[in-house]
Symmetry: C3
């Protein structure tokens, strides 16, 4: 039955990629120039470049190998991740520069623009985790472009309407990406998919590749949270690095403890551990502006890991059976819940600092509005994306061909498995 859909890539993927890529080149030719004054933000190139590379490793190697856990879907996991990441990054550079283009006619880019664009791409990669294996690369790229557009629009709304700091609005990427992905996978749900997919399996070696990706994310997450923190207040960046490191350390330990506690045989679950040990990084990233002491970061990391591991153990099946929402990489527990927790921690820590109840209430209203706008927008655009992708024109893979590299990749020299 497969051959019926196999040619989809030729008549859909190739033209789409070529048209988009040539379009991007034309836009870059007319509107983009490199900012030669490298000292605009008081950060010299050399100081910034090493951290940029850390973020780049996270986006390409970290997310890429995180998605190789499916035993027959390793090439797709890492390969489509790269395609999506580079398309989303190019698109995000353009979108982030629209305001500057409006006023000056040109978009000036520097290393910081690239970092911000890669973070927008990371937000798209998170959404894709929810539909991984059930979509083809054409759909993935469409999702990524829509998600990035939505995320940039959300940033712009927050900054324009509520005067939110750019750094704070970017860090909502976990919440935006997770809810966008969940909405989409809910809309794309096909009747009868409550049964587990035949090929949605891991094996020892694909599990190790996935651990490799997770550890790349774990190791470089402090750069992800600290790179955009401005360097004017001395120690602020060091604080961000420390908070993230400690939160990640605590959440690795806590995820192991909770995973073992919640297992009837007292065993650890490698997939829980992988996803949930990153929860601390997510939560601290979202609450970064209000975290000033190491113990605050550690407590946030602890709570995030508890919530995330319990969510993974009980919520994933529940979401599937009760809400018909099949979430391949469990983005709800990995990014959604810890992101919300981080938002809450930000609120509580900030309220603690205010003596004046009026200011406190004003801040709470402002902070709740931020969240509501973000979630509303992510749901709205997620619904649009989901409906668009339901269209049969995109030739989605059949259920039997889900989670299988063979639908998209040719292996002329593949050794016969013994």
């Amino acid at each position: 039955m497969a051959p019926q859909y196999a040619p989809s890539l030729r008549s859909r993927l190739a033209p789409m990629l070529l048209v988009l890529q040539i379009g991007f080149i034309l836009i870059y030719a007319f509107y983009i120039e490199i900012e030669s004054n490298v000292n605009v933000y008081g950060i010299t190139f050399s100081n910034f470049y090493a951290e940029f590379q850390n973020v780049n490793v996270m986006v390409i190697l970290g997310f890429g190998f995180l998605c190789t856990f499916l035993v027959r879907y390793g090439f797709s996991g890492s390969g489509f991740n790269l395609l999506v990441a580079v398309m989303a990054t190019q698109w995000a550079i353009i979108l982030n520069g629209i305001e500057s283009w409006y006023y000056r006619g040109k978009i000036r880019i520097d290393l910081k623009s690239l970092v911000v664009a890669e973070m927008c791409a990371a937000s798209a990669l998170i959404s894709i985790g929810a539909v991984l294996g059930k979509t083809n690369p054409v759909q993935l790229i469409l999702i990524a472009l829509l998600e990035v557009s939505g995320f940039v629009l959300n940033e712009w709304l927050l900054q324009t309407l509520l005067k939110v700091q750019p750094l704070n609005s970017i860090m909502l990427l976990h919440i935006f990406g997770a809810f966008f992905g969940l909405t989409m996978t809910w809309i794309l749900f096909k009747k009868g998919a409550e049964q587990p997919f035949e090929k949605e399996k891991v094996d020892r070696k694909s599990g190790l590749f996935s651990i490799l990706g997770t550890l790349f994310l774990w190791v470089f997450w402090p750069s992800f949270n600290s790179i955009l923190v401005d360097n004017h207040t001395p120690g602020r960046r060091l604080g961000a690095v420390f908070s993230t490191y400690l939160a990640l350390a605590v959440s690795a330990v806590t995820a192991a403890a909770v995973s073992s506690l919640s297992s009837p045989k007292g065993k650890l679950n490698p997939i829980h551990l992988q996803s949930c040990m990153l929860a601390g990084g997510v939560a601290v990233g979202v609450s970064m502006p209000a975290v000033h002491q190491p113990w605050e970061a550690m407590t946030i990391g602890f709570t995030a890991a508890v919530v995330s591991t319990i969510g993974f153990r009980y919520l994933k099946t529940h979401m599937l059976l009760a809400f018909q929402c099949h979430d391949t990489c469990a983005v709800l527990s990995t990014h959604g819940l810890p992101g919300l927790l981080g938002w809450l921690a930000h609120l509580l820590l900030q309220l603690k600092d205010y003596d004046d109840p009026t200011t406190a209430i004003r801040f709470a209203v402002f902070h709740i509005c931020c969240l509501l706008i973000t979630i509303a927008l992510s749901l709205a655009i997620g619904i649009i994306a989901g409906l668009l992708l339901k269209w049969h024109f995109w030739r989605p893979p059949q259920d039997k061909k889900c989670f299988d590299d063979q639908a998209f990749w040719e292996f002329p020299h593949l050794a016969v498995q013994k």
Copy 2:
């Protein structure tokens, strides 16, 4: 027979992890604060951070994947490594700050404290190499906490009694870790374990994961040896980087030559190569303060690789049969012997520089005392740790369940191996 021990993790691991972790959070809440004056050591944050990340990659990815060579023990190798590393790092930050807490009531931490703590954790990871696969994670974490305590005590003794420079005492981590691990595995030896374990095997792919880990260590070792070298003397840090790079290069080549020479069929042994090509980095790290010329580093690398490869080929079996000391990752040849060699090279190179025999003898006595204290302490605490771990309360895995992920991990979606 397995189910009898399977529940151990639930009633031992989870409570231990939670109690320790909450304890750490409380200690951090009351006594730890971040040093905001980032220029204390004349090193700015940006200059230091890239090298910190290199060390972090070594500890998490390097040691983690080095331990994945066992075919059925990959999840444990990399997962327990992470758990141990983060527990040991958090504990080492506290222990290293005790003096400052005593005088000032607070422990101030900066990026350098984190690097030093990760090096203490590295020393624990080395010891764990000797008992890997024969212990459960509860035991591993206890070992790590004891080892780190012993190592920090050793540092404090050397610095207080003998006025050893901090950098020099830290670099003894290879010697301390190796002898601690060997003592422990000797005490934990069970009668009848001369036969090779049924599951202590490698396959092609697990071997490649292990090579990946080794190469992470190999590539970033120059950072490990140079990061704590102070930057006041210009060129000192560059010298450390160069010495380490050249020593590693020479020991990779030499390990290949000796491995092929000592094999009856003239073949290379992948595991020899992996362990022994790091010997140069160990030896040069220990002798760093006295290495000033590239050729000195290269000669040390050459000798270290010869000693290490021959040690690996002949000593590992000998240790098992004659001394009943089963050394999973061969830490004796990888860290112990090259560490001793580095200590000797330091002595010889330093003696060469002294004209005055009195100073020379005084230095020799001082240098020998350093080694004796380190070895004595590592043996003593190794014996204590070994005896503590023999206690059946910790539910060690049975021989049949050694080197097997299945004792500790659950795989609900594991694909059937074909």
Copy 3:
């Protein structure tokens, strides 16, 4: 039939490695010293070191794991890559310092020397890609030493005769390495080898290891192209980073599109994608001095990926059948063609900038001479190397033992594959 050649390593490899290594140590002892004045180039150690490590990761981990795609040749791919890289680097440091030795009697090395030496080693690693699997490590090391000597001679000729900038001559490494490798593999061709080798196969997991290597190269390529760009003109280095990043992004997308277009079933080929997504980095590296706008880099990346993917799809078989040239890693399409394209792009972009036809023609002649010298020298030394390696003294592996780790590695504890 294998045992007949199996002992070759013992009586050939070990003595050769030991003699060469001891020779290098002696040369370093007498002639090499570390440059302590670290500010010679206006670049401080800390600024330079992070980028050096990126290049180091590319050479050791990137090229090493790129070569693990062959299912039975993973240990050799990554292990021999390391051996060759460190031998070639040590040798290149000596060769690059000959001029300074001639005038001052000493060779002074700093971090920049090490980077340049690693780039020469990269050029040797590219050549080796063409003969990988069909040669033994003794031959590989000889090839590497000859290739590096030829490449350094080429650089010296270009700089002496034509006053080419050092950076521009180094970037010809892709062209030199590719044509050197092709000539050699053409000379080493054995009759009857038109049939595919029995063991020249990939499997899912070895493919993923290879993707890992490719992604290391992809992620850190901006450092490779920018590290030697001088920092005096502000923004020049940022420009190099941006150009490389964008070219790589565009070539990843384009390679996917062309691979899918040119496949009858519209599927992607993982090996195409891997090699061809690096084409943009190669081409932009060669044309770097003339690339000033992002869109120029993107167009170069686009063209390079088209040329490279089409070359891979149709040229590889053609080269084998028509020219009897078996190119294991397809270095022609990955480095050769994109390198030539980069050279052409450099010419065209530079000509566009000249108003005066005389200067333009002078530049064109100069630029063509550079290429002709490089190609002539690479062919000449490739022929010499090929003829030398044909000598049976080196005991090349038999056809049946090609692409097999078992000819060179011993596996005492290998698990039986189930």
